[in-house]
Subunit: 435 residues, 2 copies
Amino acid sequence: MRPRIIIVGAGFGGIAAAQALRRTEAEITLIDRTNHHLFQPLLYQVAGAALSPADIATANRALLRRNKNIRILMAEVDGIDTERRDVCLTDGRRLPFDHLILATGAAYSFFGNDAWRNHAYVLKSIDDALAIRAALLGAFERAEQCDDPAERQRLLTFAVVGGGPTGVELAGTIAELARTTLARDFTAVDPRRARVVLCEMGDRILNAFDPPLSQAARTMLESLGVEVRTGEKVREIDARGLTVGDQRIDAAAVLWAAGTEARPVATWLSADAARNGAVRVAPDCSVPGHPDIFAIGDVASFDDGDGPLPGLAPVAKQQGRFVGRLLAARIAGKPAPDRFRYRDYGTMAVIGRSRAVAEIGGFKLKGLVAWLAWSLVHLMLLVDFRSRVSVYVHWAWSWFTYGRGARLLTGYAPGPGEKPRAAVLPDIEAEVAAE
Amino acid sequence: MRPRIIIVGAGFGGIAAAQALRRTEAEITLIDRTNHHLFQPLLYQVAGAALSPADIATANRALLRRNKNIRILMAEVDGIDTERRDVCLTDGRRLPFDHLILATGAAYSFFGNDAWRNHAYVLKSIDDALAIRAALLGAFERAEQCDDPAERQRLLTFAVVGGGPTGVELAGTIAELARTTLARDFTAVDPRRARVVLCEMGDRILNAFDPPLSQAARTMLESLGVEVRTGEKVREIDARGLTVGDQRIDAAAVLWAAGTEARPVATWLSADAARNGAVRVAPDCSVPGHPDIFAIGDVASFDDGDGPLPGLAPVAKQQGRFVGRLLAARIAGKPAPDRFRYRDYGTMAVIGRSRAVAEIGGFKLKGLVAWLAWSLVHLMLLVDFRSRVSVYVHWAWSWFTYGRGARLLTGYAPGPGEKPRAAVLPDIEAEVAAE
């Protein structure tokens, strides 16, 4: 009988593993809660109404069409039976495995303040991005109809918590949406007066970069009109804003990009976990004590001697390919590599339409040249040709016109905390009254 | 004081009226429940996962950016006070007008069987289209995981009620989705065995066309594998299928495209209404007894001597332009045209990837040549350049690959009857159990 491999999660890690196993004589099952692979580094552009979901996501079945040894299941896993070697699904089914690759990623963590989850938006899925888009566009539409100056200013205020790449990209894209795309489109309000606040607890934003690049990013954000606040802790988030340090900021939407937490794989396996819940893995990415169970990407904590690897797409992708090749070799009875080595091609963060910071192989870039490097890399990395063409068309068009093609408010975007919400505008009054 | 014009509805009629009034010295307010204008003739391609919402919709504010005399409100109207000449909004506000243009369109009518609304999908908005898309793609995903042969066949059965252009286009696009795009993508089920049933109560489909074209359309649909049933009435629609004539058809989704009903403008005005609820209007599109209130598009019943004009985009567009010009002339103190005349450039219906039927100025076309005419006309009509480029890229790509770029199942698509619904797959068991 051919060995059974189960891969849980169709992110960068899971897809890379499946692709590396394409020619292996095995029965592979890929399980994911959604039907698509998401190019997460561009998700903030869906939130910012510059791209459509289909520009950055591809159906798993389309992506893995050439993999004849794979079965794809849209389902949710809620446990692993390590004794019987079964993956347990939420609907009660059990799927037996010989080898297991866990690539379930991470979710946002509110550091114990779970009530904040109901008031702050996060950015992990397409639904999250569409919810943020609806909140942003809806706030301008409400402000246009609001007669109370204080409430109008609140509706034009957006707070982003967390000064990492996601927080920086979100703050930049909101500022540009307000100052360019929407600038001329309202009668009663001037979107250019929108206030975008980026709150970082540490003493500088983008702390994974060199301090001079952090400073350059801060200057670029400020030139877009973003108010950058560092060294202050968020004390409270509620339905009408947040408190940072001693200051109350009334806001239409609070976006949370401050910290992530691995999904509960360590609990499923009763395995040793790092502080963020990620499974501490061996040098071959296997879970100690379970040589046939591997954890990769954000759900794994891999120490390469320099501390744990960062939660980045290239880490997940390289680990997925490594584990896929390892299993392919093991199944073919060939010698398998025994130690994963991360190749760091550099990191980047983008700030608006034509500015970025990047550290690439010792080079430190900023401004337009960094942005050009960033857009080239992301265009090349996008998974299939169609997305590339479509993204290129949208970008080119946005570039020349400052227009955003995906400015659609549809009725069923979920609010923060993932509750589905009915049409955005008709219940303004009800909502304000209820608060 | 400049005259106040209110336009209700940003469909083809409302937008055309606003554009015709661009240079008029007036205070214009455009009210719509959504923030976007929708190119409805291509909506079925969003439902069929071939196009993204942003490809066929444009923000009203972007579309009317050059109109300096207009204010756009995202709000919902629920009445007209003809005495005080106020438009009443659902939030209690009242907006006074001197001239009023009602262009609120039509909704689907279930001919008194309102319970069916909870079980059948309709296609009027982007949310509707995304709900249909989720129902189609979700059904294949569920079938892939289903062990019961009867239930699996139900999950691969789709019924469309109504043999007009929308019904024909939906049936054709579902059949092609199953037979080409998805054909190779599943392991346990063969999507090519999906059953698509088109039910028409009358004795032929597309009864607005010449009988030979109806027959040609039927043959084309049948060659795509669609089962066309005519002359039978739908007796029941429930959560697991429908009954047509004497036959029970278990289906994963029932799509309703059988009849429309004008929105309640006639009731608001206590005006004379046609059978479908549309306001009977005078030759200048005004509502009899209210010379300053106009009704255009699907909400109006305009008799040009040959019976009422059909509910088509060109009728709404031409009436909008006519009323806009009439008001512009009246306000400028110039002689105004007093009689709307519809110019019929022809009608078309598309059946799948490269086939259509069309009647254009006496010419009757079918097959590829009709499809080419159709795609040219629709591409030219698409409202802005960006959409044209993007739609062209998607079409070209789909054409060469049979792939569909927008195959995304996201978690919050509403079910039929517009109830928001949680993630599509995890609750299969619960849902089946509850039925």
